[in-house]
């Protein structure tokens, strides 16, 4: 049997495709938009054992890929993850329990995200996992690298605890390679080993003065001290060299440890800086001065201590093999920065020397060489490796992905099965949206969570960013463009009438020469307009298929006892759970049905409601400023006018059907609603009941 599953780009929205563990961002963002927070959390948690961590520090490749990014700014996918994972509903989530014990013991070396994710998934598969960690604490770089103002220690503790709760054993203070050799682990009964020792050795700056002068430190060891509360000695003026997260974190940490001035020296321009955009902004915001296009030349000492950093300006040359433009010194542009401390943060390599006698390493960078990259197997039978130890310093989510992948490989290895090989179309960039589509799509600004004021921040290591409020989260989630979950055509039903081609606001449906309709799943934004205009109901929308609506209507009418009013409310309005519950309390007769735009409600839906016995139907649409498709609403009025006309002819009275504009805040304007309810009362019950 061929186990190869090939994942095509088309199968996933850009956000999901970009995620190393294929998190279905679209799904949970959608759940949040629908205020189904617990389901949002479940959607995340089923794949990711560290959601609260990722919600805070993930480098979110999903956001870089997000189609919304081409309209104005990407969806705040990571912040929404944090929202979903931090909320009280997360406690209701029933965590998966370990599977039936297999009796196999597996050793995981290193407790960073790779090790933790592997331990989690292996435990669920029924294996007995022991984590060996050299340090006295767990979490790897999550704990010793990333400062608490970005990832509070209690959050990390809580996340690790959920994993340990699965029965994962921990042996801290054990340095594998020294205390126990890898091969010895097998003698201790372990059947497989996962090596995830990370990359903890800072690369040397390679400039004069680095080794001899006091006051030059490596970022990793500096941050480790900071994060373990060891209050390392700090200069008054500090230069951090490098452009990644480590550099920014070192700089921001020194600032919090009361340095007077902190500089970051980076050899390329801001555009090339690998650190997260927002982090760079925050750093500048906090008062850190950034020297771009600047390389350190020499550390100048006085009395054996750092007194200045001699630098030179660069300009960018031709793009190198990696596509990045390599910096070139500008002759004569040397200058010096007055500093008394230099932190080297130009990248880390694995500290794999202890394992060198047992595992093959890469020629450059001391990384662990994989024998079978697809299964993460090393040259030593039964030993697998992943995370930073294999890739060099990368990201937490990539480490988690490695951990998850290795769990499957090890499981197969232990069961002596061949591992599934999933090949994946590497999509580097999301397809480009045609400019017409960008133009026609309404712009909605990205929501930002409130940050701690600067003076509050600099007092210590309190978390800088807050979590989204429910309303803000919903508002942000509503920006999602529903990539790939929009319209699809049943070729069997389609009669090539071309209506969909004409009505689609973004030009997603196209016709072939022979009249077949193809709806471009990338362009489609699931507005549902075409589905209503298709005369033969050949189109359905993946996001809330029409069948669901029909059922909801029947249920809504059947559940009410006295007056039955079916109320269609637009998710895109701005209302909160209170608004919904107070409406329910005040008007128990109104059965609310939430829809993505009134444009999703058809004449026949309304007629069906009356047929089922509804006394009235009300539709409340969001203010047009929030409507993602400018042209979309007018059809609603026309369709409802048609339904009203039928009601009039039937003697049921068209006044039983009404469209409301949602107010700025809330579900429906009180005054108008009262008036409407009076009218209905005057008209009496639907004689069809």
């Amino acid at each position: 049997m061929d186990n190869t599953t090939h994942i095509e780009y088309q199968d996933f929205p850009p956000c999901q495709m970009a995620c190393p563990i294929l998190t279905d961002a679209r799904e949970y963002v959608q759940f949040i938009a629908e205020r189904r927070f617990e389901e949002a959390f479940a959607s995340i948690r089923k794949l990711n054992p560290l959601p609260r961590v990722c919600g805070r520090i993930c480098m979110h490749p999903c956001e870089i890929a997000c189609k919304r990014g081409q309209i104005e700014e990407p969806i705040s996918i990571a912040a929404l993850k944090r929202f979903a994972a931090d909320g009280p509903w997360a406690d209701h989530y029933k965590v998966a329990l370990p599977g039936k014990s297999t009796g196999y013991k597996v050793a995981v070396v290193g407790s960073g995200p790779a090790g933790l994710a592997a331990a989690h998934d292996l435990a669920l598969l029924g294996h007995h996992v022991t984590i060996f960690e050299a340090l006295p604490v767990l979490g790897g770089m999550l704990r010793t690298g990333i400062p608490a103002y970005r990832l509070p220690k209690d959050v990390l503790d809580e996340q690790i605890q959920t994993i340990l709760d699965l029965g994962v054993e921990v042996k801290t203070g054990v340095l594998i390679g020294e205390d126990i050799k890898l091969s010895n682990l097998f003698e201790h009964g372990y059947k497989a080993v996962f090596v995830a020792i990370g990359a903890h050795e800072d690369r040397k700056l390679g400039i004069a003065g680095e080794d001899e002068i006091e006051g030059v430190v490596s970022a990793v060891s500096f941050l480790r001290q900071v994060n373990q509360g060891e209050n390392p000695e700090i200069g008054k003026k500090v230069a951090v060299i490098g452009g990644g997260n480590t550099a920014i974190d070192s700089a921001r940490a020194t600032l919090r440890l009361c340095a007077d001035a902190v500089y970051i020296v980076y050899r390329r321009s801001r555009k090339e800086m690998p650190a997260e955009e927002e982090e760079i902004e925050e750093a500048a915001h906090e008062g850190i001065q950034l020297f771009y296009l600047t390389s350190p030349l020499e550390i100048i000492g006085q009395d054996g201590k750092v007194s200045a950093l001699k630098c030179i300006k660069n300009e960018l040359g031709e793009p190198d093999a990696s596509g990045r433009r390599s910096p070139k010194h500008v002759p004569g542009s040397e200058f010096a920065i007055d500093v008394d401390m230099v932190i080297a943060a130009i990248g880390q390599v694995p500290d794999s020397s202890l394992l060198a006698d047992e595992l093959e390493l890469t020629e450059r960078g001391n990384r662990i060489h994989l024998n079978v990259p697809n299964t993460l197997a090393t040259t030593l039978a039964g030993v697998f490796a992943g995370g930073d130890a294999v890739t060099g310093s990368a990201t937490a989510i990539e480490a988690i992905a490695a951990g998850k992948k290795v769990a499957i490989s090890i499981d197969c290895y232990l069961r002596e099965e061949s591992p599934p090989t999933a090949s994946r179309t590497e999509v580097v960039e999301t397809k480009k949206l045609p400019s017409g589509v960008v133009e026609k799509t309404q712009k909605f600004a990205r929501c930002h969570n409130i940050s701690l004021p600067i003076d509050e921040r600099l007092k210590g290591f309190d978390e800088v960013k807050s979590v989204f409020s429910e309303d803000l989260a919903v508002q942000e989630a509503l920006r999602c463009l529903h990539c790939g979950i929009g319209a699809s055509v049943s070729t069997e039903r389609c009669i090539s009438c071309l209506n969909c081609v004409q009505v689609c606001p973004v030009g997603a449906p196209a016709t072939t020469k022979m009249g077949e309709i193809n709806i471009d799943r990338f362009l489609c934004q699931a507005c549902g307009i075409c589905a209503l205009e298709c005369p033969v109901q050949a189109i359905d929308i993946g996001l809330h298929p029409r069948g669901e609506l029909g059922q909801q209507i029947k249920k809504a009418v059947s559940m009410s006892e006295d007056t039955a009013v079916v109320g269609f409310f637009d998710y895109q309005g701005s209302f909160g759970p209170d608004d919904v519950s107070s409406l329910k309390k005040q008007y128990p007769g109104i059965a609310p049905i939430m829809v993505f735009g009134l444009r999703r409600v058809d004449t026949s839906d309304v007629l069906n409601a009356f047929e089922a016995g509804a006394d009235a139907v009300l539709l409340a649409g969001c203010p047009s400023a929030r409507e993602p498709f400018a042209a979309a609403s007018s059809g609603v009025t026309q369709r409802m006018a048609q339904a009203k006309a039928v009601l009039d002819v039937l003697g049921l009275d068209g006044r039983r059907l009404q469209i409301f504009d949602m107010p700025e805040r809330g579900l429906v304007d009180e005054e108008h609603l009262t008036e409407f309810m009076h009218t209905i009362a005057d008209l009496g019950p639907n004689p069809l009941r």
Binding site: C497, Q502, L532, P535, V536, L607
Partner: protein, 222 residues
């Protein structure tokens, strides 16, 4: 295609009063394309009639279905059981479909739910224009692909009547004089001399018209 227009619900309601068990039958070719006979319209009309029946204490059922084209006996075959189970069929198809139904089901009342208008095309959303009268003797080669038989109010074949003002037809005040359009088109094609061709007298078809193709192979022949 054949352009049809839905009848008002008032008219349909009148027509279906006391019709007994009813089948609302859509036609998913031309009629559906005109937004008058597809599954979507079937759903709307069926629901409306069901309500109407309930209102007048009429207990009879309303069924619905659609076929690809009601003008083909083969497609109608698929709904014959449903038709048999009903007293009346409300057909959402053009006149040809309604009549094919009537032929296929001589014991059932077949009611039209649409008005059949003409042969035409959609000029823009929700607007259709008559293009061809099916005169049976096409002259478009002489008129630069613009049909005066259909689009000249008087169907003139030898040039305009002289009543156009400002290029607008004296009869259809929202239409250009089609002869002036033909003139411009022929001029563009350098074919104005076509207008001077021998005067035409049209041989009109005999209704009901019939097309018999002798050149086609007979079914079963080898």
């Amino acid at each position: 295609m054949i352009i049809v227009e839905p009848k008002s619900f008032e008219e349909i309601e009148q027509m279906t009063k006391g019709c007994g068990r009813l089948l609302v039958l859509g036609c998913e070719t031309c009629s559906a394309m005109c937004f008058a006979g597809g599954q979507r319209q079937v759903a709307e009309i069926a629901s409306s009639i069901r309500m109407s029946k309930k209102m007048s204490q009429d207990q009879t059922e309303v069924l619905d279905d659609t076929v690809a084209r009601q003008c083909e006996l083969e497609f109608l075959d698929h709904v014959k059981d449903k038709v048999a189970a009903c007293n009346t069929v409300l057909s959402l198809s053009c006149g040809a479909g309604v009549q094919t139904m009537a032929k296929m089901f001589p014991d059932r009342r077949i009611l039209p739910a649409v008005n059949t208008k003409f042969i035409g095309r959609a000029t823009k959303r929700g607007e259709w224009m008559e293009m061809c009268m099916a005169c049976g003797d096409c002259i478009l080669e002489r008129t630069a692909g613009i049909c005066p038989v259909t689009r000249c109010a008087k169907g003139l074949l030898n040039g305009p009547c002289g009543g156009a003002t400002g290029g607008i037809c004296e009869v259809s005040k929202d239409q250009p004089c089609v002869w002036q359009e033909i003139y411009h088109a022929l001029k563009r094609l350098n074919m104005l001399h076509y207008l001077k061709q021998k005067p035409q007298v049209k041989d009109w078809p005999v209704h009901p018209d019939k097309v018999v193709r002798k050149d086609l192979r007979e079914v079963g022949a080898t």
